[in-house]
C-alpha cells in the first residue's frame, strides 16, 4: 500500500498538477470567504472549464476548491462572525469571541493547524479504507451494482432537508431526467420531444448550474439584503504558543474521528460533522465551562471535523462510485464527463489516477496551510465585496461555462429552465440534492437493473440470494430505519 501511495504521489506531483491545485485552493478559499457563493455553486460553474485539463488535474482543482472553501468560511467566521459556509457556523461561536478578545491570531492558527492535521490523518484513512472497499467490491456484478446505486440514491433522502414526500418525488423526478436521451440498449431517443439537442440526454452542467448555481443567485437576490460587519484587520497575525498547541491535540483528534466517520456516510458531510464535533467537545472537554466565551478547543474540534469529513467523503466516491453528498455528486459527474467511472474497478484498473487523487488531497491540505496564513488580510478585505459585483461574475462564468459545453446556446437556455425549476423547488420544498443525485446515478441504475434481470430472466431472487446483495439489502433496510427514526420532518433553510 505504501508503494501505491508513492505511485500516487508520483502521479500527482507534477508542476501542472501543483499549479492547478494551487489555483483550486485559492479559488476555494476565496469562495469560502464570500457569503452567497458556496463551493457547490463554484464547482458547478467551473466544471466545464476543467474539461480541457484532463481527469486528474480537473478533479484536483475541483477538490481544492472544496476544501479551500471550508477554510475560507472559517476565516470569516472567526474574524467577522460571518460564516461563509454552513460548516463554519459552529466555528464562529468560539472563534469570533476569541477575535473580540484580541486573540484572532490564535483562533486562525488553531483552525489552520487542526484542519491540516485532520486532513493528513483523514488522507491516511482514505488510503487504508479505499483499498479494503475496492477489494470487496471486485466481487460485484450487476445485481450488486444495482443495489449499491439504489442505496446511494436512498442516501440522498437522508441528505435532503425537505419533507419526505417531496424528497421521494425529487428522486423520481431526477430518475426521469436521467431517462431523457438515447436508450442504452436500443439507441431510441426517449423523452426528447423531437429536440435534436436532447437526443444525447441532459448534460450535468446545465442541470447543476441551473438547479444549484443560478438558483442560489436568485435566492440571494430575493432575500432581504444583509450588511457586512466591519472588522479590524490589525492584530491578526496567526500564532500559537506551545501550551495552546498541546491543548489542541485532543480536540483535534476527536474532531478528526467524528469528521472521518460522518464524511463517509451518505447524509453526512462537513456541516453535520462540525456540529457534532462541537457538541461532543463541549461534553467532553475539561474546559467545557469556557465554551462559548472564546475557547480554542471550540475552534479546533469543528475545524478538524469539517476538514476530515471533506476528505473522507471521497471514499465512497472513489471506491464505490457512490457520492456521499452533493459536492461528491458533482465530482462524480465531472469524472464521468472525463470518461472515468469511479467504482469498484477503479483502483484496480487505474491505480495511478486513484492514488494520484488521494495523494493530491494531502497536497491540497499542505497548500492550504502554506498559502492561507499569510493571506488572511486579503481574504477579509475581499469578503466585503458587495453582491452587486459578485453577481455579474457568477452570471458571466455561468453563461460562458454552459455555452462552452457544446458551443451551443441551447445549454444556456437549459440553465435558465433549470434555474426556474430550482426556484420552484425551493418554494415547493423539494430539495435539489435528491434530484441531482438521482439524475447522476439514474442511468447506471437502469442499465444494471436491466442487465441483472435479463441475466436472471426476470427472477428477482438474484437480489437477495447472493451474499453481497443480501448485505446491501440489509444495509438499505438499516438506513431506512435510521432515517425514519431521525427525521424531524421540518424544512430547514438552505445552507449550501
Amino acid at each position: 500500500m505504501i508503494d501505491q501511495l508513492l505511485l500516487g504521489f508520483g502521479a500527482a506531483l507534477t508542476w501542472a498538477n501543483l499549479l492547478v491545485c494551487l489555483v483550486g485552493v485559492f479559488l476555494g478559499t476565496l469562495v469560502g470567504v464570500l457569503p452567497g457563493v458556496g463551493p457547490l455553486v463554484t464547482i458547478s460553474v467551473l466544471l466545464p472549464f476543467t474539461f480541457g485539463l484532463g481527469p486528474m488535474a480537473g478533479i484536483i482543482m475541483l477538490a481544492g476548491i472544496y476544501y479551500g472553501a471550508q477554510y475560507g468560511g472559517s476565516t470569516t467566521a472567526i474574524l467577522v462572525n460571518m460564516p461563509g459556509e454552513a460548516s463554519s457556523v459552529v466555528t464562529a461561536i468560539d472563534g469570533y469571541k476569541l477575535a473580540q478578545k484580541g486573540k484572532a491570531g490564535q483562533a486562525l492558527a488553531m483552525a489552520a493547524v487542526s484542519s491540516f492535521a485532520a486532513g493528513t490523518l483523514a488522507t491516511l484513512l482514505v488510503a487504508l479504507f479505499g483499498i479494503a472497499l475496492s477489494q470487496l467490491a471486485l466481487s460485484f456484478g450487476p445485481p450488486e451494482y444495482t443495489l449499491l446505486l439504489a442505496l446511494g440514491i436512498l442516501g440522498s433522502l437522508g441528505l435532503s432537508r425537505a419533507p419526505l414526500l417531496q424528497s421521494v418525488g425529487g428522486v423520481l423526478f431526477g430518475l426521469l431526467l436521467a431517462c431523457v436521451g438515447a436508450d442504452v440498449a436500443t439507441g431510441a431517443p426517449r423523452l426528447a420531444f423531437g429536440i435534436p439537442e436532447l437526443a444525447d440526454g441532459l448534460g450535468l452542467v446545465a442541470v447543476a448550474l441551473g438547479l444549484y448555481g443560478v438558483t442560489e443567485v436568485v435566492r440571494v437576490l430575493s432575500a432581504p439584503a444583509g450588511g457586512a460587519a466591519a472588522a479590524t484587520t490589525e492584530g491578526i497575525r496567526p500564532r500559537l504558543s506551545a501550551e495552546e498547541l498541546r491543548a489542541g491535540i485532543a480536540p483535534t483528534l476527536r474532531g478528526t474521528a467524528i469528521g472521518s466517520l460522518l464524511g463517509v456516510l451518505p447524509g453526512g458531510g462537513a456541516a453535520i460533522a462540525s456540529f457534532v464535533a462541537y457538541m461532543v467537545e463541549r461534553k467532553v472537554n475539561r474546559q467545557r465551562s469556557h465554551f462559548g466565551q472564546g475557547e480554542l478547543a471550540g475552534v479546533a474540534a469543528p475545524e478538524a471535523a469539517n476538514n476530515a469529513a471533506a476528505q473522507t467523503s471521497f471514499v465512497p466516491l472513489l471506491a464505490l462510485g457512490i457520492p456521499a453528498n452533493a459536492v461528491m455528486a458533482l465530482m462524480l459527474g465531472a469524472l464521468m464527463i472525463h470518461g472515468v467511472s469511479p467504482g469498484p474497478q477503479f483502483a484496480d484498473k487505474q491505480p495511478a489516477l486513484f492514488w494520484g487523487l488521494i495523494a493530491s488531497m494531502w497536497i491540497g491540505n499542505l497548500i492550504l496551510l502554506v498559502l492561507n496564513l499569510p493571506l488572511v488580510g486579503l481574504w477579509v478585505r475581499l469578503s466585503r465585496i458587495p453582491y452587486r459585483y459578485l453577481l455579474h461574475i457568477v452570471m458571466i462564468c455561468t453563461c460562458v461555462g454552459a455555452y462552452s459545453v457544446n458551443a451551443s446556446g441551447f445549454e444556456v437556455a437549459l440553465v435558465a429552465l433549470f434555474a426556474l425549476l430550482g426556484w420552484f423547488f425551493l418554494r415547493a420544498q423539494v430539495d435539489p440534492i435528491t434530484v441531482i443525485l438521482a439524475f447522476v446515478l439514474g442511468g447506471a441504475l437502469e442499465e444494471n437493473l436491466r442487465a441483472s434481470l435479463a441475466a436472471s430472466r426476470g427472477d428477482f431472487s438474484v437480489f437477495y440470494m447472493r451474499p453481497v446483495s443480501l448485505a446491501l439489502l440489509l444495509a438499505g433496510a438499516a438506513l431506512i430505519a435510521f432515517f425514519a427514526a431521525s427525521r424531524s420532518g421540518g424544512w430547514r433553510e438552505s445552507d449550501a
Partner: protein, 153 residues
C-alpha cells in the same frame, strides 16, 4: 423572504409532479415497455412516471388536509430578470458573438438587483468584466466563440 408554508408547498409540488408524470407517461407510451426479464426503453420512464404520479396525488391530498394559510412566493423580479438574462444570452451568443451577449447579460442581471448603484460605475465595471472575460475565456482557455459577429439566424 417568506417561504411558503407546508400546505402551499405540498400543493405546488404535488401538482408539478402530477403534471410531469403525465407528460412522461404520454411521451413514453410509444415505446415498448417489455417485461422484467426484457426491459424495453419504455420500462423505466413508465415505472418512474407512475411512481411520480402516486407521489403527486399523495402530496395534493396532504395539502388539502392539515395546514392553513396560502403560500407566499417571494419577489418575482430577480427570477424573471436572471432567467431573461440567460435566455437572451443563449440566443445572442451564437448569433452576435461574445461581447454583445455579455453586455445584454450584465444589463439584465443588473435589473435583478433590489437597488442599483450609479450608472457610471456600472459601465466601468462592466467594461472591465467583459474585457477580462474575453481575455480569459477566448485568449487563455481557447473558447470557440467569436468576440463580435453578425450572423442573423
Amino acid at each position: 423572504m417568506a417561504l411558503p408554508d407546508a400546505r402551499g408547498a405540498s400543493l405546488a409540488a404535488g401538482l408539478f409532479f402530477l403534471g410531469t408524470s403525465a407528460i412522461a407517461l404520454v411521451a413514453s407510451s410509444s415505446y415498448r415497455v417489455g417485461t422484467t426479464a426484457s426491459m424495453g426503453p419504455g420500462f423505466m420512464p413508465t415505472l418512474v412516471g407512475a411512481g411520480l404520479a402516486c407521489v403527486g396525488v399523495a402530496l395534493v391530498a396532504r395539502s388539502l388536509i392539515g395546514f392553513r394559510v396560502a403560500a407566499q412566493w417571494g419577489p418575482w423580479r430577480p427570477l424573471v430578470c436572471i432567467c431573461a438574462a440567460l435566455l437572451a444570452a443563449a440566443w445572442l451568443l451564437p448569433q452576435t458573438g461574445l461581447i454583445p451577449a455579455l453586455v445584454v447579460l450584465m444589463a439584465l442581471s443588473e435589473l435583478a438587483l433590489p437597488e442599483r448603484g450609479p450608472w457610471g460605475r456600472w459601465l466601468v465595471f462592466a467594461a472591465a468584466c467583459i474585457a477580462t472575460a474575453c481575455t480569459v475565456f477566448v485568449g487563455v482557455l481557447g473558447l470557440n466563440v467569436p468576440l463580435f459577429a453578425w450572423r442573423p439566424a
